[in-house]
Every structure is written in structure tokens, then in C-alpha cells.
Amino acid sequence: MYLQRLKLIQFKNYTEQEVEFSERLNCLVGKNGMGKTNLLDAIYYLCMCKSYFSVQDRNAVQYGESFFRVEGDFLKKEKKHRIVAKVIPQKRKIVSLNEKPYKRLSEHIGLLPIVLIAPDDTMLIREGSEERRRFLDQSLSQINPTYLEQLIIYNRVLKQRNAALKQLFAVGSRDKTLVESYNQQLLKPSAYIFETRRTFLEIFNPIFKKYYKEISKGAEQAECVYKSMLWENEMSVLLQENFEKDYYLQRTTKGIHRDDLVFTLNKKPLKRFASQGQMKSYILALKLTQFELLKKEKGVTPILLLDDIFDKLDKYRVEHLLNLLLEKKDGQIFITDTHENRVEQIIQGFNTDYCKFVVVEGKIEL
């Protein structure tokens, strides 16, 4: 599977740009702030219906404009898939496949699997649990459409439950009936999400351990431990027992929306003691595992976006990474770098076809 052609209109710093790519390796070079990452984000947008970096669509529109359009021709199993995203932030968002608009955006997720590796990813380790849930959800929603559907339902009900708790608290009422209705509606999605995340980590960890070992060349055992309140208690019990607490805090304190992944090395949490190098190896191994699992589950090689890895990783890790990726003979890869020649020098050693693009102020030159 690969992206043949991409067209951007008023997307971030691109006014209008059309570009054709190599089905194998594409290098985007240019100084900081020229729009390399924005181009990767546009590709990500076509696959996931949202930006990897900015949560809100209005941040993806070119400054001063009211809408953006991203269009891409993907070739998957010899069939052309033209994806068009037309977005007027806060008003309209239409994503279509071969001219046919989707009724629900969630139906599109997973058609074109994608993995993005960005320097900011160390947030995965350093920041709160939300980042790590996002990582899990990114993988699972591409693999399993039912998971995404249940997650959307869960989040919607949760939002309503929290709003109901606020109203209850505001009027000083203890009538539990409405909150209990929401409890009931949370049971099925939470059980499904817990079970799916649990089994996902069972297949994730063996591959992950292998990658970490390869990348770090160390003897440490890496493992992602799935942490959830649902290991010990049923969701119904958690919600019932914590009604008082939820009432006073005016939000739902227990549930799969508080799940976390504990990243460990030799059974010890990484967050506390890991060196910069160990963290980078860890992130890389996490992402490569995501890549391999998506490939296995979807039956096609995901598009891989590597953002600014040369600045963030040492030469040894980069070469090792490219070795891993290029020894497999398929899959489309996009790499960005600030030095025009560095990336070429490294790639030339691999004897692979590639295209180089120079990005200057929201314009692409061949």
C-alpha cells in the first residue's frame, strides 16, 4: 500500500501544493519551520481523519483562511483509493472515499494503516496516562472497528454522566436514577475495551521485547504492563462504590478512561530511572511493534512517517532503524531531515530507490 499523489489546499503553511511520491522511500529535507512535519501530518490526516499533533481542526487551517482540503490517491492491493478531506472547522468535516462521503468518520479508520514516529514521542513516557491511552487507541482503532465504536460510545456516555453529576451536585439532589442509567450504559463498552486492551498487550509484549533487545543491544527485559482498575473489580461495582466520591468531585473517577501502561525495564518502571538513550530505544521499539502488529492484523504494510529522527537519535540507532525497515522489501516510508545531504548519504548505503523533496516555505521542490 502506498500514497501516489497528495494535494493540499490551505493546510497549515501550504497554500496549494500537489506532489507525487515514490512507492518506497521519500525524503523531505528543509530547514526548521518550512513545512516538513506539516506534510507528514497531512498524510496522517487522510488515514486517521485527524491531525497527529494538533487536536483541533482549526489549528490545521492556514492562518487567516476558513477551510482546508487534503486529497490523496492511495494504491492498496492494486486498487485506487482517492481520499478527500474537506474541513471547515467547527462547521463541516467531510471525508470521502472515491467521491463517496463517509456517514461516520470512524468507518474510514483502519482502511489505510499508518504509524508516525516523532521526536515529541518521549511524551509517551514522561507525560500523563492520556498519552499512553492515545497510543493504545491509535493501534487498536486501526485494527478493530468495533473497538473504536465502543470507545466512542463509552466516551459519549461518560461525558453525559459527568454532566449529570454536575447538575445533581448543583441542585443538591441525591437522586441516583439518572447516574445509574449511565452506569448501565457504560458496562458493555468498558468490558469490551478492557478485554481488547488486555489481549492486545498479550500479543504486543513478545514482539516488543524482541525489538527492544535488538535496538538497545542490551540484556534488559522490556515490558508494557497494562494497568486498569478493571483487573480487580467489575465496572458495575466500581461505579456503585464510588458514587459518593463521584458526586462530590462531579466527575467519574473510576473506569477504563483511567487505564495506563506502565513501561518497565527489568520489572522496574522506566519513568524513574531511565537514561535518555534507553527512553529513545523504548519509544522506537514501541512504535516498531505498533507497525508490525498493524501489518500483521491488516494484511498490508502500513505507511511509516519518520519525523526528524536524525536530530533526535544517534547515527547508530538511525542506521539500525533503517536497516530494520529496508531489509523488508515493501512499505512506503517518509523521512524528514533538516540537513539536505545527511539523509542522502545514509540512504545511499542501502541501495534503495528513493525520491528527494526540498521543502521551502510551504512549497515543495524536486
Binding site: 460510545i153 459519549r156 449529570a164 439518572l178 442509567s181 450504559q185
Partner: protein, 202 residues
């Protein structure tokens, strides 16, 4: 658009404030009213004013009505032991036009959605509970859209009456009549397989 008359412009503004009417349609309507005779226009405005000032909601089911109790609730031929709970008046009209239902209605006036500031007390749920206690009701049918908020509303009402000897049912959800399977959306088709029904030949 520039208009030669402020009066015309005002009329257009008023029409364009209605749902589904843009400025071009508003202009067409206004020009049409200008063309027909004054009596017909008078008829128009009287009808609207009368409707607005005299219409009320039925004391029992909250349907729109000219009298304190609507004609459906007054109809002696209707089955008073059956109440169909709907979100709004348009749903009543839709069910009535099927001519398949001979019970009474209860119009909630919305569905529970705290995000939008609609709680149970903003709907006519208390009046429904009262009706159930005063009237001989055997079954209530929840004819509410199959959305998350719709489900919440059904859960809520059924919890409120769980101690009463009343049957609660919901509309069947699944493949539509005359529809082809290949065009059914996956969610509906999946659900229809899971909640399949025994085949009865008639």
C-alpha cells in the same frame, strides 16, 4: 442584495429566520404575498396568530391540541392501557400515519442530555409517572430513537417504574422493509444478526 423597500427587506428577514428557508426563498415568498390580494394575506396572518395564541398542549399526553385534552386522548375507541412514549410531536404524526397503533401517547418534549442542559425534570417524565399511577396502564412502548441519549432516556424511565406491574417494550431495531441487505449499514446488520427473531410462517 439591495432592496428598494425597507418593508420588503423586513419581511424577507422574518421569513429567512424560519428553518430551511434561505434568503432567496424568503424573497420569493415575500414577492408572492405582495402579488396576492390583501384578504388572502390577512387570512395568513390571522391563521398564524390564532395558532400561536390558542393552541395548547394536552394536559394528559402533551400533544398539541385545541382543547385541554387532545382528540387522541378523548377517543373512546383507543386502548387506554397502552402508552407509547415519544420524543416529540413529529413522532406522534409519524406513528399515527402508519395506522397500526391504537393506544395513547405521551410526549416527552425531548430526550435526556445533560451536556445540552436537558435533565429528567425538563421533560414530562413526572407527568408520565403520574398518568401511569392514575390510569390502568398495562404496557408502555418506548418509541425513542436508538441513540445513546435515547437509550439513557429509556433506562431512566424504566428504572422509575420498575416496581410497578407494567410491561416495558421498545421498538424493534433492524433491517428496514424493502431494503437490500448489501446496502444496510454494518452496525444495523450486525445487531440484526445478534437479535434475530424466530421465523413464523403465516
Amino acid at each position: 442584495m439591495e432592496f428598494s423597500s425597507k418593508l420588503l427587506e423586513k419581511t424577507i428577514d422574518v421569513f429567512a429566520s424560519l428553518p430551511g428557508i434561505g434568503r432567496k426563498s424568503a424573497l420569493r415568498l415575500a414577492l408572492h404575498l405582495l402579488k396576492i390580494d390583501t384578504d388572502s394575506v390577512q387570512e395568513f396572518t390571522t391563521a398564524i396568530t390564532n395558532m400561536k395564541t390558542h393552541i395548547r398542549s394536552c394536559q394528559r399526553c402533551h400533544n398539541i391540541s385545541d382543547n385541554p385534552v387532545c382528540h387522541i386522548c378523548e377517543d373512546a375507541r383507543r386502548d387506554k392501557s397502552l402508552i407509547c412514549v415519544v420524543e416529540n410531536i413529529k413522532d406522534v404524526m409519524a406513528i399515527e400515519s402508519t395506522a397500526q397503533y391504537k393506544g395513547l401517547y405521551h410526549i416527552l418534549g425531548g430526550i435526556i442530555s445533560p451536556i445540552e442542559g436537558v435533565g429528567p425534570s425538563d421533560l414530562t417524565i413526572d407527568s408520565l409517572l403520574q398518568r401511569i399511577q392514575e390510569q390502568e396502564v398495562k404496557e408502555i412502548i418506548m418509541a425513542i430513537s436508538p441513540t445513546i441519549e435515547g437509550d439513557t432516556t429509556i433506562f431512566y424511565i424504566s428504572k422509575k417504574i420498575k416496581n410497578l406491574p407494567i410491561k416495558v417494550s421498545t421498538l424493534a431495531r433492524g433491517i428496514s422493509f424493502g431494503g437490500e441487505l448489501q446496502y444496510a449499514d454494518e452496525l444495523t446488520l450486525g445487531r440484526s444478526i445478534v437479535t434475530r427473531i424466530p421465523y413464523k410462517s403465516e
